[in-house]
């Protein structure tokens, strides 16, 4: 019976007419999303570690910096805000970056195992292959973020902008995540080495988080740090999330006052993040396209 089934279909591709590949864009996105999700579920250790890291970061930073932080907050114009609430955007960014950087590691593994080439040689559209993997990576980023939300509520943080604000916080995080996914993919394609991508995670994460208003208000830091923070994408992620948590304009690197309130932070922050995404997204798509055109190592 097996042979019959197989035999019946063998001669089918003989005609030279148009080939119906049976693929649709949405279908192909789904196929790739499913594959990467399955992989993440089969190998949950990284996600579990990300959740633990996020949890410990929030608890540890609050415990260690809490007392000092309170003074700095007072001096930096955040009187009345508890340090946990102030710190939350920093831990959101840290969790997002850590998780986003794993995107490049998945890509490098695919290059190493030949799965990349195997996917290239199928009739699936490249857009769908990218989009499917990116969607799965973004879903994975959400896991530690949800845990952080839960934890922050337990610790007494309230989101002043309500449910819509919470959704917006997640979207901002994903926007930052997308940016660092693109960066890690470019690094992965340039180095073709997952340890290099791992090392780059640390290289990017620590300076970028410390050179931003993540732990302390910029007003409490030196002018040099404040200048560097202007050119740091994490600054915009932190400020946008903090504005949504506190329901007020918190951005100091770019002064905007035409929209009023939260929007004075959100509009420039989202703008900057979108531009950076466009830039690094294009770079990573270009690098992926090149890699798919010459798969000889």
């Amino acid at each position: 019976m097996n042979r019959e089934t197989t035999g019946d279909t063998v001669g089918h591709a003989a005609a030279s007419g148009p080939v119906d590949t049976g693929n649709s864009l949405v279908g192909d996105v789904w196929v790739n999303l499913k594959r990467w999700n399955r992989k993440a579920i089969r190998n949950p250790t990284p996600v579990i570690l990300e959740v633990l890291t996020a949890t410990f970061s929030l608890l540890l930073f609050t415990a260690v910096f809490g007392e000092v932080g309170a003074f700095a907050l007072e001096a930096g114009g955040y009187g009345g805000t508890d340090y946990v609430t102030f710190l939350l955007p920093a831990v959101f960014m840290q969790a997002t970056m850590g998780s986003a950087f794993r995107s490049g590691i998945g890509l490098v593994r695919d290059l190493e195992t030949g799965m990349f080439e195997k996917v290239v040689v199928t009739p699936m559209s490249w857009t769908a292959v990218f989009a499917g993997k990116a969607a799965a990576d973004l879903l994975r980023i959400l896991v530690p973020l949800f845990v952080l939300f839960g934890l922050s509520i337990v610790l007494g943080t309230a989101i002043q902008t309500g449910f819509a604000g919470a959704i917006a916080i997640l979207l901002i995080s994903l926007l930052v995540g997308l940016l660092f996914m693109a960066i890690s993919n470019v690094i992965g394609l340039l180095t073709r080495d997952d340890e290099a991508v791992n090392a780059a995670t640390m290289l990017f994460m620590f300076p970028l988080i410390f050179l931003s208003p993540a732990f302390l208000p910029l007003a409490a830091l030196s002018d040099e740090v404040e200048l560097l923070a202007t050119f740091n994408p994490v600054t915009y992620g932190v400020d946008a999330i903090r504005a949504l948590l506190l329901d007020r304009d918190v951005m100091t690197v770019i002064e905007v006052s035409r929209f009023g309130g939260v929007l004075d932070t959100l509009v420039p922050a989202v703008g900057v993040l979108l531009v950076l995404n466009l830039l690094f997204g294009s770079l990573s798509v270009l690098a992926l396209y090149r890699a798919s055109r010459s798969t000889v190592a």
Binding site: T6, V10, A13, A14, T21, T113, G114, K118, V121, V296
Partner: protein, 337 residues
């Protein structure tokens, strides 16, 4: 088959060339015309251009010159249609080790756009075919090398491609696993699938292929049926065992060369005290060689005349000193008209 194919050839390539940005030319003017249903073998030493050729034919590399068509479709202009119609098994085993055998096949089915109604049956058939049904729900990471290769082969065939590229499919497998894959390749070829196989195992090519081409330094240097190639190269092999210490074989080679009986195309080698002369008329020269060795004071312990194996053909062709054989095989068995 209901509809007769308009295209006679599954693969047609003309002047296929690939030069890397660093200036190395990996493939230099390869012509191919492979009819439908053929089991075609592509042989050559490491670095000769086998994989590069296969990658150009499989749309993974753009040729820097020349063109190739698969079932009449251009590999660069009509990439997606070509991809839908071919199966490709890379040299390195490529399966997703985090997924199970079944999930790997499912992903392949979906990637090739099989309708969901056909999927389950197809997956069961393939799992049976490559003998992985019993372990279908175990992650591929737990598989042996042979099992991974078989899974890899199965995923390349989910869509019943009319043409399958197999790049050294049995490298690193034990003989049992290799035999099993051979049987499987024969079966799909019997069912009408054209197969383009590269291999370093001459026995494999001899066993499976209808026709062979040998590539060396990016150019095809010989082609024809395994039998024709064997008959063509060297004709016969004369093996003479010499007795004595390690220096004797060297002296024996000198003595044989000193006879001036064999021209430059003959190969005279030595291995483990055996002198091996490959030449069209090696057996006729047997008596003269034994005499020459005797005169040189070398004791002959035994001698034997053999037909060349494909290994000998390969060694002779892969040797840079031997001129190209293209066009000198039997009529009708030559790749390039």
């Amino acid at each position: 088959m209901e509809h007769v194919a308009e295209e006679r050839f599954s693969i047609e390539a003309k002047g296929l060339q690939l030069t890397y940005p660093d200036g190395t030319t990996a493939v230099d003017g390869v012509d191919l015309a492979i009819p439908r249903g053929e089991f075609f073998g592509f042989l050559g030493p490491n670095g000769a251009g086998k994989t590069t050729t296969i990658k150009m034919l499989a749309t993974l590399l753009n040729p820097t010159d020349g063109r190739a068509r698969i079932d009449g479709r251009d590999v660069t202009d009509d990439r997606r249609a070509v991809r839908a119609s071919i199966g490709y098994m890379a040299q390195e085993v490529s399966v997703d080790e985090e997924l199970t055998a079944r999930e790997n096949l499912e992903f392949a089915c979906e990637a090739y756009g099989l309708s969901w109604r056909d999927r389950d049956d197809r997956i069961e058939d393939l799992l049976d075919l490559v003998d992985l049904a019993a372990v279908s729900d175990a992650p591929a990471a737990s598989f042996s090398g042979g099992m991974k290769k078989r899974l890899d082969a199965a995923t390349a065939l989910v869509h019943d491609p009319a043409l399958v590229f197999l790049d050294e499919p049995t490298t690193g497998l034990d003989p049992k696993a290799r035999n099993r894959l051979w049987e499987y390749f024969r079966r799909i070829n019997d069912q009408g699938t054209t197969i383009f196989l590269t291999t370093q195992y001459l026995e494999e090519a001899d066993q499976l292929c209808d026709r062979l081409a040998v590539i060396r330094d990016g150019r095809i240097v010989a082609d024809g049926s395994p039998g024709a190639l064997k008959r063509h190269v060297g004709g016969e092999i004369l093996e003479i065992q010499v007795a004595g210490n390690a220096a004797v074989p060297g002296r024996a080679i000198k003595a044989v060369r000193g006879m001036d009986r064999f021209d430059g195309s003959a190969s005279i080698t030595t291995e483990d005290g055996t002198i091996r002369i490959t030449a069209p008329d090696a057996s006729e020269a047997g008596t003269a060689v034994v005499l020459a060795l005797h005169n040189a004071g070398i004791e002959v312990a035994g001698f034997d005349v053999e037909e060349p194996t494909l290994d000998e053909v390969f060694l002779a062709i892969a040797d840079d000193d031997v001129p190209d054989l293209v066009g000198s095989t039997e009529p009708g068995e030559v790749v390039v008209p």
